[in-house]
Every structure is written in C-alpha cells, then in structure tokens.
C-alpha cells in the first residue's frame, strides 16, 4: 500500500481541532460539523452532523452514550483506512474524542478488522500516549467533567461486521448479524445506548473541520459532496495505492493519475459497487454520480467482466450471514447464473429472471450486503447484456 498523493490530513495541527471543539458547547460542535455538510466516508454518505445530533438528542436512560469507529475495512478494493490508521491514528482518535464531546459519550471503541491485527500495537501505543498527555481519560484537556476513553476490539474476519449493526452485535459478543431498523444505533446502539458509528476517515476529517472551520471544507468538492476524499485505487493500473482527490474528480482524471488510461471499465465502490464503462469515464466520483466508500478497481482491456462478476458473487455467497432469504439464497442463484453466462448456456428468459431476482435482493434484503451484492452484475447486464448473453464458451 503506497500513499501516492500528499495527504491534507498530514498537515492538520495535532489537537488543534480538539482544542477548538472544547472551546465550544457540544451543540455548537454538532452545528459546525453539520454546516460542513460532511457525509459519511464509509460509503453510504449519511450526513455526519445529523447522525451526531440524533444521537445527542436520543434519551440515554443511564446516561451512557458511545462512540464507535468502524475500522472493519473489508470491502474488496478498499485500503485507505489502513493507511490512515498507519499514518495519522492520532487524528482518528482526536475525531472520536470530539464526537464524544459533541454527543456526551463516555466510552469509545475502535472495531478493528481482524486482518489488521498488526496495527493494534501502534494504535495501543498512540492511545497510551494520548492518555499520558491528558487527551483521553478524565477531565480531558483540563475540561472538568469531560471523561472519555477508547479501546480497540478486533474483528474476526467477517466482512459483514463492517455493517454497523452487525458490528454492534459482534461488539456485544453475539453472531455478527445485522439488526432490524428501527430503531437506529443513534437511538439504541451499543449495549442499547445511543451510539454513533462512523468510518475511520470520517472521524479523521473532523479535527480538520474543527481546526480550519466548516467553510474551508465547504470550499472543496461538489454541490452535494463536500471535502476531499481518499480513494483506494487498485487493479490494472501502473501506480496502485491510496490517493486523495477532491470530490468531483472525474474517473478519467483518476485513471490518468494512477496510470490506468487504457482501462476498459472501472468498478466504483468495490464488490458492492457498479461497473462504469469507458464511455462514462467523464462521470465524477461523488455521491451524486459515482459513489464510493473509497474503492476504485480498474479493469484493463484483457479483463473478463464475467470473471469479475463471478469473483464478486463468490465473495458474497461466502460472506452472507445467511439470516435473510434474498441474500442467503439469492447470491448463489446469481452466481450460478453468471457461470451459465460464461458457459454460454443462459437463455434471455433466464437472464431476465436473474435481473428481476437481483432487483428483489436490492429491494427486500435485510442489510446492505444483500441490497448491494447484485449491483455489479446488474450494471453489467444493463451495459453489456447482448454481449454477455451470446458469449461463446472458451
């Protein structure tokens, strides 16, 4: 993993954001984050300020609220959180501490992807340093009554535990299976207390926003997608790695920067993302056009898109928790369909049935896994339906 562009986050003055936050009332911090219009960096793009406000307003019967950092970075093709946790862990913890001040939380957890166990030592050291410096613990930065600490808990290899409610179940010691909305975690999260669950990158940007002001953040990006965004670029490119771009960068610009100019297509959003063909490379990386939590997988001209679809679906068949019917049974059916397409044995009628099934899975699955696992396959059929249908088997 190479960081290919200078990171704005590396230039943020340590603890300036936390100091600025503690000089304000919690609700003013939430207002500032809200004004920045930052949307969640994990992929779904929920507005961070609104999430924090809902958690701060939710009744906490025993006075407890929680801050959870989702560091279960499991989306295939995503590794920018790993970079942040390696390079600027302090900023992530600082962002969590600001979140705790904002919503009135006393405890924080980093749910760390199991495969990132090698990062744990560094994170623990960073936490110990912060405690020693009075940046965690009691009366943080000399603010009477502001007590907050953070612990690191490791996942155990389940992709699904990146889904926030499955993550909470796992944190509580149960099977990592998604919960039903409602209520949402902001009302009833970890141990039934109001909880904000934010992505690593989301927390990392918070100190920057507090230190430099929401206007700075608003000055970057597009009308609906504010601020800079880290991207994990992989696949058929000369220079894979972590890149920082402002939201609104076009796919073509991303390809030029990373050495993937002759790409045939790009998967934006990872295995649960969509296929963007070369003819659409003018589209921008943004919540409104091509949304991603960070993954950009570049597919070169020699790459068989059905192979990619098969690979993704094998992954989802493996990672579905098996709880709800559309996801548990639907993914294997789609996978078998893709294999039939590869063999040249899929009739147009069957392809139509698979498309309808994919839409049912998007519409009726319990959580984001089943709701997004058909995305790549469906975009492939939309873009290249006639070609893949008349595939002559190799």
């Amino acid at each position: 993993m190479t960081i290919r562009t200078p990171l704005t986050l590396a230039t943020v003055t340590p603890d300036a954001g936390l100091r600025a936050a503690l000089e304000r009332a919690p609700h003013e911090v939430i207002e500032e984050v809200t004004r920045s219009d930052m949307r969640g960096r994990g992929g779904a793009g929920f507005r961070t300020g609104l999430k924090w406000r809902l958690a701060s307003e939710a009744p906490a019967p025993d006075g407890r609220r929680h801050v959870v950092c989702n560091a279960d970075e499991g989306e295939p093709g995503t590794f920018k959180d790993r970079a942040l946790l390696s390079v600027v862990p302090d900023l992530v913890f600082e962002g969590m501490t600001i979140g705790a001040w904002a919503i009135g939380a006393t405890s924080g957890v980093v749910y760390l992807r199991g495969e990132y166990v090698y990062l744990r030592k560094g994170l623990e050291e960073c936490l110990a340093d912060r405690r020693a410096a009075g940046l965690l613990g009691s009366d943080i930065m000399g603010t009477p009554g502001f007590d907050f600490d953070i612990r690191v808990q490791l996942g155990s290899g389940s992709y699904l535990c990146g889904e926030e409610t499955a993550l909470l179940e796992s944190l509580e010691g149960r099977r990592g299976e998604p919960r039903n909305r409602f209520p949402y975690p902001v009302v009833r999260g970890l141990d039934r207390a109001p909880t904000i669950v934010n992505n690593v990158e989301t927390f990392a940007w918070v100190p920057a926003i507090m230190a430099r002001g929401a206007d700075w953040f608003l000055g970057i990006g597009t009308s609906a997608s504010k601020g800079p965004k880290l991207l994990s670029i992989s696949g058929d490119v000369a220079r894979p790695g972590v890149y920082e771009f402002p939201f609104g960068v076009t796919i073509r610009e991303v390809l030029t920067a990373s050495g993937g100019e002759n790409a045939h297509a790009v998967v934006v959003g990872g295995a649960c993302g969509v296929c963007v063909p070369a003819s659409d490379f003018a589209r921008t990386i943004s919540y409104e056009e091509a949304s991603t939590g960070g993954a950009v997988i570049v597919l070169g001209p020699d790459r068989d898109l059905l192979d990619v679809a098969e690979n993704f679906l094998e992954f989802f068949v493996d990672e579905s928790c098996g709880q709800c019917t559309p996801c548990r049974v639907g993914n294997p059916v789609l996978l078998e369909g893709v294999r039939a397409l590869k063999r040249g044995e899929c009739t147009p009628e069957r392809l139509g049935e698979l498309q309808r099934l994919g839409r049912t899975m998007q519409d009726a699955s319990k959580c984001g896994l089943g709701q997004t696992s058909p995305s790549f396959f469906l975009s492939l059929v939309d873009l290249f339906g006639p070609e893949i249908l008349h595939r002559v088997p190799a």
């Binding site: 609104l50 409602f182 559309p326 099934l357």
Partner: protein, 636 residues
C-alpha cells in the same frame, strides 16, 4: 457493501399517542410503535408471514412480509416496522408480489423433502405460501439430494434440517420461551443452519423434549417421533390387550384437528372413536392425577411436618411438582442440586402405567406381558418419560407407547373417523371415576388448585368451598408467567384423616401458618424462579411450587394440534375448566380425595397408605443429575 445506514426516519420515543396508518387505502388509528403487520391485521388486511409467530419476538429474516412504505426506498418487513408517524403502506402491489414470489421460490430452491410423505403435508406454511404465490415451477432450481442426515434417534423429537427454512422460530422458542438453547444458528451464507451443540443428536443434548420448537416450526423440519404404525400393529394383533389412557389436555384440543374451534371438548366422542379404532379399554388419566394429588399432597404434608415440627434441617422446601417430564429433565440438566426439591411422585401417566400392568392385570386375569399400554398425551416429552429406564416398576415398560394429539388425529383420519360426529360414551371401569381436580391438571395452575383443594380439606376438616366459592381457587388460575398465593391456614383442627394418620398426630402445628405457593409455566420463567430461590428471594420461602415446562401447561404441550397462540391456549383452558365445573353440576366429585377408585386403590393395593412402602415401590421414582454438558451418545 455500504457501511452506514440512513436514520432519517428515526423513531421518536414511544408515546401513548395514536398514529394514523393508511394500509391499502384503509385508515386505522394505532398506538405509536405498533408494527405494520399488527396494524394491517387490525384493519383486515392480510399480509403473509413465515418467520413471524405470535408467541415470539420478531426478527424480520424471512422477508415474506415485505411491503411498500411511502418514503422508504426499499421494501420494508411489516413484522418489525414500527409505526411512529402517519404513514401509507401498500401490501399487494406488483412490486411487492414480485418480491414475495422470488422469496418463496428461493425458499423452495433450498428446501429438500417430499411433501407427500411429510408429517406436515397439509399443515405446512411453506406449502401454503407456494400455493398462494402461484409458484408453478422451480424457477431457481430444486434440490434433488439431501444435504443432511435426519436426527431421529431419540424418543421424542425428529429433526430433518433439509426441510428447514431458517425462520428461526425453533431457535427463538428454545431461547425465549424455554431458556434451554438446545438449538442455535451455526455457519454462515449457504452453510448457515439450525444446529445443536457440537452437532450431536438432540437426545444427547441438554434438550428437555418439550417440543415447543416443533409446535412452532412452519414446516416438517421439526416433528414428533411418530409411533402410530406401532400402535396400529398392536391393535391389529389379536393376542394383545391394548388399553389407552387419555389425558385431559388433548381432549380439549383434538377437535381443532377436525375443524372445530379451539376450546371444544370432545371427550365423549373420543371415547367412542378409540373403541372403534380397536382399543380394548379406554381409561381416563385423570384418575391417576387424583392419585398423584393424594401421594403428592401427603408428601408435602410430610415434608412440612418434618421441617416445622421435627426440625429436620435437610428437608427440601419448597417442594416442586414432578408431573411435567420436560420440567423434570430441565431441572436434571440445569439445576441438579435442586433435585431433592422435586416430589418423588411419578407423573399421572406413569402411575397409571404401573397400575395397569399390576393391579389391573391381576384383577382382569391378564398376563401383563400381553398388555399394551398406550397413553394419549399433549406432550412429546411423555415419550421420553415412558422410555426412562427407571419406569419399569411393574416389571415391564409401565407405558409402552405414547401418542400425541396429532398422531391420534392421524390414526382417526386413517380409519375414516370424523371425530365431531361420533356419539358420546364414557370411560371404562375400573378407572372410570374421575374428578374435576384430575381434569384441570391439563392447565397451568391445575395441579396446584387440585392439591390445595385436597390439602385444605384434609387439614381443616372443612369443605374448601368455605374458603373459595365453588372450590374455584382463582388466584392460581390464568396465564401470567407466575402466580403467587399466600393463604393463612384457618384454625386447623379437624381430625387427622386415616389417609395421613401414619404421618402426623394432629394439625395444631399448622394453625395460623401462612402457606405460600406459586405456579410457574415455561422453563424460561422457571429459571428466573430457581434463580430467585438461589438468591434467597420470595420463592425461597415458598412451601410448594407447581412447574410446567410448556407455556400454558399441558394444554400448550408439544404434542397438541398446530398452530398455537395465547388465544388458542386460553380457549383450551376454558374447555378444561368447563369440564371441571360440569363434574360439580352433575353431582360428581371435584376433589381428588373424593375419588372412589382412589380410595379403593388404598384399600386393595396400596394398603400401607399414601407415601407408604407399596406406593413408594410402584408410584414414586428417582431422578438423574445430568448437568449442562452432555457429550456422550447415551440417550439422555
């Protein structure tokens, strides 16, 4: 996969306020927090379900009940979507229908089994959904090979994972209602399944055979061990004298198998039907229930006397009832150190079994080896109980075969018998005498009420009607998880009846004593009560506690007709209490100690009295400490 969700429709705190929901154009005012499914039912809109069960917390996993909700991007599961603001729902649009059909087809594609040979053919919820959604071919394929082996090695429950639709009703039943957790979810994705600890057969697990899981299974994945063919063989064997005892709970429920509304008693019709099936004698288990009350009541008096008068330190109080084999096995597993609290009395089924192969055989001039003793029970744990190695005090298996209400209904149908149209008839002698007390054993609280009727009369020498109108001890009735009753024994002073003269010299020691009793049903509740006893709480100071493994008592047993719900169980209870009342109105005994056959039993067979050496040999038993980790292949 996206890693965040969208809480913009965040539910406000629950309030008393009502909210207007519009469902398929029908407007309905519901309390805030009501689910869409509940609201739809309230206004007459039917939404199909699979993983929903009225006794269980909803989980929203099958997705069959998805509906369109205005303002929501995706379809929403109606069983877990709370209505907290005015909202409009459409339950049968083309989009919804397409999704439901896909979901039903997906379920069928992973379902393996032959409907025609399935125990649930005709009562299967998956079959019903397939019919409702017009599934005409297996669009997403069909399994042609079983993936799992069937667990049918135990006496009570058969588990065929190939028919499982992963609705998790069994898992939730086992955890929420029973707190046994013999069934849980393992694996993920296509490997996910309902499984036992370490994949062992249910019969070697901490499973209490209560069968509550199979009463709530929508398909044939969990069923009761079927012995109807063996019963049929015995009936067809001219050398065999086949008798059947019938418990009160199935008599209050069997009508449901023949289209009658829940709560329609069919006792008289059943007697006729059983004779038509070929049974040589039809006996009433309630006789043995009366006998149980005498033995258990005397045991209680003895324990109280030893504790309160003789000051013996190690008398186990409160005493626990022992009629429910699911409860007994629960205690053997979960709290073996509390086994001394269990009454040593066998259950009515087993007392009766012993008497049939001893007293009845001798009296009728029959070789007990030729007698086949069958029991009609509401219960699948009774199958296990009959197979317990210690249940052979007659020198034979005291009870040979236990059939559930469902199995008997199947046998009647096979014989072309329409139960509701049968003429009524009575039970056979010599066990034809029953009392209302024996009948109410079938409902939670019934054992306690019967015991109190007898103990209060023995102790006070006065009719219990002086304390409770019509001898209806209503405080112990009902369906609350636990009912408590504290009653001060009035100036005890009646003469000591002959039945207990060998135990206590007088009743002065009970004068003014506050007798504390409790009634508990469902083993999840039982666990809370035992924990309270352990902590020295209210229940530790109880004298006597009735425990039933199944919610509702026997009438909610695992062998009863499917489906079950609180309303159905309440209707069955009404039928049982009505039968008790009818005994009184017909001038028959309503108290166990008034049963003339019971008196005859003590005069002719159990001559050293209740709790005496003979009754201990024939009617009492011992228990096995099992613990929670059962790793052997022994039938446990």
């Amino acid at each position: 996969m996206t890693t965040d969700t969208h809480p913009e429709h965040e539910a406000p705190p629950m309030t008393e306020a009502t909210v207007l929901a519009t469902i398929d154009g029908r407007e309905v005012d519901v309390g805030s927090g009501t689910t869409i499914l509940e609201a739809a039912r309230a206004c007459g809109v039917r939404i199909p379900t699979l993983c929903h069960h009225p006794d269980l917390a909803d989980v929203g996993v099958c997705r069959v009940c998805v509906v369109e909700v205005e303002g929501q991007k995706n379809l929403q599961p109606s069983c877990v979507f709370p209505i907290t603001q005015p909202l409009e729902v459409r339950t049968h649009t083309p989009r919804v229908a397409a999704a439901r059909r896909d979901i039903v087809d997906l379920l069928l594609s992973e379902h393996y089994g032959d409907c025609r040979t399935c125990a649930r053919n005709g009562s299967c919820e998956l079959q019903d959904l397939a019919a409702e959604y017009g599934v005409d071919h297996y669009r997403f394929g069909q399994r042609t090979e079983p993936a799992f082996s069937v667990d049918d090695g135990g006496p009570s429950i058969v588990f065929d994972p190939d028919k499982c639709v992963l609705c998790l009703r069994c898992v939730r039943t086992c955890a929420e209602l029973q707190d046994v957790r013999a069934l849980s979810v393992t694996g993920r994705g296509t490997g996910v399944r309902v499984a036992t600890f370490a994949g062992l057969p249910l019969s070697s697990e901490f499973c209490i055979n209560c069968g509550q899981c199979l009463n709530r299974c929508p398909t044939g994945a969990l069923t009761a061990m079927d012995v109807t063919a063996r019963v049929r063989d015995m009936l067809d064997d001219p050398r065999k004298h086949v008798v059947i005892q019938t418990a009160p709970a199935p008599r209050a429920a069997l009508g449901e198998e023949f289209g009658l509304p829940p709560g329609t008693p069919v006792t008289g019709q059943l007697n006729t039907a059983l004779r038509e099936l070929g049974f040589d004698k039809v006996f009433d288990t309630t006789f043995a229930a009366d006998l149980t009350i005498i033995e258990e009541g005397v045991e209680l008096i003895g324990r109280l006397y030893r504790s309160m008068v003789l000051g013996e330190p190690d008398v186990a109080l409160p005493m626990f009832t022992s009629c429910s084999p699911g409860w007994v096995k629960y205690l053997e597993h979960a709290y073996p150190s509390y086994l001394p609290h269990l009454s040593t009395c066998k259950s009515p089924q087993q007392m009766f079994g012993t008497l049939i192969k001893t007293w009845y055989a001798a009296r009728s001039g029959l070789d007990p080896a030729d007698i086949v003793s069958v029991a009609l029970m509401p219960c699948v744990a009774k199958k296990f109980e009959a197979a317990r190695p210690e249940m052979t005090d007659s020198g034979y298996a005291d009870v040979d075969l236990v059939v559930t209400a469902r199995e008997l209904a199947k046998m009647l149908r096979q014989q072309g018998i329409d139960l509701p149209s049968e003429p009524k008839s009575g039970f056979d002698d010599p066990f034809g005498n029953a009392t209302g007390s024996g009948v109410i054993f079938g409902v939670t609280g019934g054992v306690m009420e019967s015991a109190l009727r007898t103990v209060l009369e023995l102790v006070t020498g006065e009719p219990v009607e002086n304390l409770y109108e019509h001898a209806d001890i209503t405080p112990v009735r009902g369906f609350d998880d636990v009912r408590l009753l504290e009653l001060t024994i009035p100036d005890a002073g009646g003469p000591v009846p002959a039945l207990v003269a060998h135990l206590v010299p007088d009743w002065n020691w009970l004068r003014g004593v506050a007798l504390r009793v409790a009634v508990v049903h469902g083993t999840a509740t039982a666990r809370r009560v035992i924990e309270d006893i352990r902590a020295g709480g209210w229940f530790a100071a109880c004298h006597f506690i009735e425990f039933m493994a199944c919610p509702g008592g026997c009438l909610g047993g695992g062998g009863q007709p499917i489906p079950t719900s609180l309303e159905i169980r309440k209707a069955r209870a009404r039928a049982i209490y009505a039968e008790d009342t009818a005994y009184g109105e017909a001038g028959h005994a309503r108290k166990s100690h008034e049963n003339p056959t019971v008196a005859r039993m003590y005069a002719e067979l159990l001559t050293d009295g209740p709790g005496g050496e003979t009754s201990h040999r024939l009617l009492h038993t011992a228990y096995t400490a099992r613990g929670t980790f059962v790793l052997t292949d022994e039938r446990g």
